[in-house]
Symmetry: D2
Subunit: 452 residues, 4 copies
């Protein structure tokens, strides 16, 4: 599997027009899901136009472009910055002509069998101009459309032959169709604002554009919007297995997924962590931004006061020049500042969302010690990463994962912390207590809901 990616998608039908602008604001709210590239495709009087490029939403779009796109339907996409080749060609939505006219696709997810599938298409004479899985899905739809009377049925047929993760929005000149894979790996929800209908990876994007959250799409569900009419083309097929890392890290904390608040899940993780790994300490400090919620939970459950011990520099962007080889260790100082008044002479519980390679943790522990912390007790609100993700998340190779190379004690030693605790797998399952769905925790267990 060549490329993993975490992305965000947004789709809007609005008879009042200005859909590109609505998509722009929706993508702004989903920017945390992908900072490499972005794009918007819009339908104006049945004509497709689009704009996409490498960069943040605020960099790629300006007023003139939005005015030109305009439209009564639009789909948007933000794409994750994987290390290495950032290719403009891979920016989405994918736009294409096929037997029935034009299509635009925005896709969040991953097909673990992409290579196999690509080869199969190639043996039919297909050509591929990107390295994204979306192009494969597009081919599958185009082929299915030859035998199906509508785009939504073609989509249904095409996806029925695929295995993997996708939250997908497809736009034809007359229809907006949204769907999730039958395993329900990636989130997708639906909302309304007056006569407008919208789909988004996370509910925070609906809030941002002033839409009312209506519901989440179920695993395998297909919903089509045409002339303002919403029609369920295919009902949910399973309870699903949502990526549990959405709760730990990916999603924005004001989003609601599977009926559960992301912020509450993180806080709950912190509370469990306090129970599983208690310690005598003076202050609980979270690593901003993603460790703050769990730190608050840890503080609440442990009684160890919540403190602001680290401040994040809000201005580090894509163009930040990393300090050279000699000063690599210094990078963390530019990204994070330690609050001496908070940690000096104190025993600190340091809560982070997860520990991947361990290098950042080591630097933060060291930063706190320099600021006078007497002890630093590291807590991870996720269990150790031990396995790859085949469903849309860019987990590093096993040889880069610190938990594949060291025991918990070994990791502690590597990070220089005085003690270390990872949330248990058992507790993990309870951070989303009444979820309407099951979960995939393959990256922590090596067990996946889908045979590979």
């Amino acid at each position: 599997m060549a490329i993993h990616e975490e992305c965000g998608v947004f789709g809007v039908y609005d008879p009042a027009g200005d859909c590109a602008r609505t998509a722009y604001y929706g993508l702004y709210a989903l920017q945390h899901r992908g900072q490499e590239a972005c794009g918007i495709a819009a339908i104006n009087d049945r004509e497709l136009s689009f704009h996409k490029d490498v960069g943040l939403v605020g960099e790629v779009f300006h007023e003139g472009i939005l005015d030109e796109l305009n439209g009564t339907m639009a789909v948007g996409h933000v794409r994750y910055s994987t290390t290495g080749g950032v290719r403009r060609e891979n920016a989405q939505p994918l736009t294409l002509n096929y037997v029935k006219g034009t299509l635009a696709l925005a896709h969040n997810g991953n097909l673990p069998h992409a290579d196999e599938l690509r080869t199969r298409f190639e043996y039919q004479g297909a050509i591929f101009q990107t390295t994204s899985d979306s192009e494969l899905i597009a081919y599958a739809i185009a082929q299915a459309r030859l035998r199906c009377p509508s785009v939504e049925e073609a989509l249904q047929k095409a996806l029925s032959g695929l295995r993997g993760a996708w939250s997908l929005i497809v736009m034809s000149p007359r229809k907006l169709v949204a769907t999730r894979d039958p395993w329900g790996f990636r989130p997708l929800c639906m909302g309304r604002r007056g006569e407008a209908v919208m789909f988004a990876s996370e509910s925070c994007a609906l809030d941002a554009v002033g839409a009312r959250f209506e519901r989440e799409l179920g695993p395998g569900e297909i919903v089509a919007v045409e002339d303002g009419q919403v029609r369920v083309v295919q009902k949910p097929v399973s309870r699903g297995n949502l990526c549990i890392f959405e709760y730990i890290y990916f999603a924005r904390s004001d989003s609601i997924i599977c009926g559960q608040s992301i912020h509450e899940a993180r806080r709950r993780a912190g509370r469990f962590l306090a129970r599983e790994y208690p310690v005598e300490a003076d202050v609980t400090v979270g690593v901003p931004d993603s460790g703050l919620d769990a730190a608050l939970g840890y503080a609440e459950a442990s009684g160890i006061p919540y403190g602001v011990g680290l401040v994040k520099n809000r201005y580090i962007g894509r163009t930040f020049i990393t300090p050279g080889q000699d000063h690599r260790e210094q990078a963390v100082r530019i990204k994070l500042g330690a609050l001496r008044s908070c940690v000096e002479g104190k025993r600190v519980v340091l809560v982070d969302d997860s520990i991947v390679r361990g290098t950042t943790s080591r630097q933060i522990v060291s930063l706190l010690r320099e600021a006078g912390a007497k002890e630093v007790h590291l807590r991870s609100s996720a269990p150790p990463f031990i396995a790859p993700c085949y469903f849309g998340t860019d987990i590093p190779n096993k040889d880069e994962l610190i938990a594949c190379r060291y025991s918990v004690e070994g990791i502690r030693a590597q990070t220089g912390a005085d003690s270390l605790g990872f949330l248990s797998l058992d507790a993990l399952k309870h951070i989303i207590p009444d979820a309407a769905c099951g979960f995939c925790d393959g990256c922590f267990t090596g067990k996946y809901p889908l045979a590979l």
Copy 2:
């Protein structure tokens, strides 16, 4: 007085070279003090070179530019984005040739009598190519230099004739000279890293580059660095009157000013606020980012649990397209997301750092109500703004200041909050208990330490 500005300055002498790069990281840490424009000037083997432009530090500089600047001394500047004309010409450091060669100046502050002073110079035949006060200071230095044997003495003489606010770093081919105005309005500190000597508006910039904080410069103090030797040219002349709004809003919370932690001052403000304006409520919510510290203090003192009720979008940048006239109210939704799980059915204490025009407060109150808050009790950790600032802060005109137009009850009604409390002037004085200096609170009192 035409232009107010809040800025950040950084200066470095390092015999090991690479000073432009050090300044770059220092400016990154000071970026919160100015996002309009930035620049770095460096001395390489007695030759001055520079680069400056409109934009963030990460946008204006790239590796090639830093390599070209290089140098064993550098000064850097970040400039605040005032509304209206963002002129590239006003970017600093100001670089110039004068009777004794080249100079670079980086200036944070404001001269209230600038117009008068400018006219005086113009009547001597001077020309002005920018609208910044720095050019006035430069003229004063250039004239003083005709009668003074060194740049630091010229600086001393020139400044002795000026009244206003300045934290200033001046670089000649051989010397780096740093100084604060005799009233001590704006902060400036000094640090060391090996043989390197540095000056910065805030200590967080020293931390970012791995320098050890040594001390703050006193009001009126002039310090010169030459060949690594640090010499006090003029001793502090007063206890000073530091801008109290640095503690409330400007400075980064991990900085230390007048020996006091910014974060602790804000937390203390929150604690006083809880005592002065108690309320029965279920959760304390801060407006991110600048209201969070005070909210924590409020929660601590009131016993009302601290909650994360608002999430800030981290990607809103300079190029953000504001929603059109019809949707102006919507802008806040894109910038802030409300956490329904935190506030629904609850009585919320909403803590912000200050209330200026009142429009943002009204939108946030409304956002929380829509997310289900039963009551919203607004608390400002600063007293009401009632007067302009003449010393480097961009306080709006009186007719825009809500506290100049309404009573506290009127402001409450305007914002739609259930109750409202402003930190008292009396409490304000106590948020920095053992400060080594006095304070200017002119914007809250109309009384200034310097006759105008």
Copy 3:
């Protein structure tokens, strides 16, 4: 037929490497064939990389990009700026993955039956991401490759089923294959520099990179280069019908096509014109740049002295802001300056390469009269345009062609000239006297070498 285009292609195999740079210089020499977009794809140790964008060669490429591309093989492309949508997606070379790995294609030409062909592929489930014919050719190759043992044989098979115009360079990880359509519409030649082998639309590109012109490819010929060995895969199949407008306008005057100098052909056209449309006059003036050669020929044959009566502004680029509606007539004054000293009080023969819409001619005639010309006798070194081109040239619609709407006398009246003469079709045939090929003059006759 949706899109006409005139383009330039360049291909190079050089074991010494640095092929992207060679292609860059080659494209510079072909820039007159297309100013909309350009691109280079290179093979480095069997790996394909590429860069392409909207803009001129000098805008799209910089040193760093060329260094990254590098390579021992490269293909490049420049694309013509048709009015309307300049889409980045249409920039070439087209790069793709297919059953046997990667391919890059650079294409100059047009398939008149593209829509039909596209539909046929779509009915096999194909998707199209660009609007260029090159994608069709790529599909045809990919399909043929399934049944052919090599890329060059697949190319042969694929092209055998196509009708239209193409000068095409295809690059696989190991081979560079160049070919022309069997009708020979578009030029393509081959050269060598040491061990390097190169292909280019025009010989001027070989001169630019210091390569020795070897020969032109014949109609239908396919040549493959592998490990430095040049092999003729398919021999020329006909005498061919080269686009005669290459001689009149497209090609650079220092190029040699079909063994004939472009400059000489233009000069000869001018000489014939002098014989066919003699006039009593004082000076012969060419419209720069493309009318100068013919003007020189007219002057030589008529004995009316050659004069420089018009100067072209060399700086008008893609970003030129056209004068508004009220001043449209003024545009010509910015592009061309009249030399009063040359034309004042004189009878002027004004020679242009062709007359398309007539608007520019009218403006130039008027410009010369204002500069004092007593008479202006307009001569076109091409016959009147009366029919569309289906083979790669962007001739406007018939309703825009002045010769489809007016008689010669009517055109004269429209342009305001005192007399008007178009080169005759008969003379046109003789401007390339000993050409090794036949010609397509469909735009002047409506008769094409290929049934449509």
Copy 4:
């Protein structure tokens, strides 16, 4: 003398407004006088605004900027690209505040005593933010204005104390003032279009904007425009000494300077050259673009037919990547193509406008030989450069001037030509037979009209 520069200036007063746009087109026509940087300052209802940057007119300005500038008066400037530091700070017009408000200055010329003058100002306490002489002139005006009742009188007074070359346009909120230095080194002319009044370095800029050429300003003349009234503030003071190199190279061939056509002067130079250095040859070839006029004159006088032997690549821009050290010789091939059909087997007279370092000449001679020329006889329509210019032209140092290092025979050998002839100084004087002015030929003689 630190910096030489050749520039172009344009000024316009037009009660109908849109002056920035008029200046834009005027600068386009003057672009050949400077390609490094450009700028426009405009007066809108007494308010000054401006835009300037490094780059060509077409790169620096876009529609939105021109709309913002707008105005009823404007001055524009194009600046020459000297090798080395292209500093944005040096872009003009220089805009400033002084005792009486705002001023904008656009300056073409050079002050040979700039250093001395700068020192004098510095000893009065002045600071300099650019390295351009314009800033010196601005100071002089600002000081004079203290004692003069109007800007034009201040200008008169200020300039009376200066020695050197300037064609200068100064704009105050109410007036546009144009002037030339008393020695008349640089050209400046005036035109009208309806109620609009314009000034330009060359008449071609007046033609471009549809203005009627009225007259040239005389040496030392000062003309002020206020509310549409044109007033001569100071009459011409001498016959003047126009830079003769304007005729040879700088000016555009459709311009008229001192009442004489540039094109005719160049053609006349070619004719004299034919008489002074006749040769038996078959074809006369000019080096495009600046050698073409003289080549035509040579052909006319010698009877040796004029031929197009070299074609210039029209797309080489500022961003062209020069071939590396190993291939430096190749650069000429990319810039110029030789027409084999024109020169093969022939004896060629090669006419260029001048020979500076000799390297380009050598490459062109070699290019022609490779294209089959039997003999190449080089002719320069300017005498040998033997001395620096102190008046606004960027003549290289003596050690780079080939004529300072070699005899004519030596230069011939260096360039590889079969024979070589430079226009004589005597003939040079006659290429502008009835000029209304005298000339400065200091670069060819070392004798200047102004003691240094």
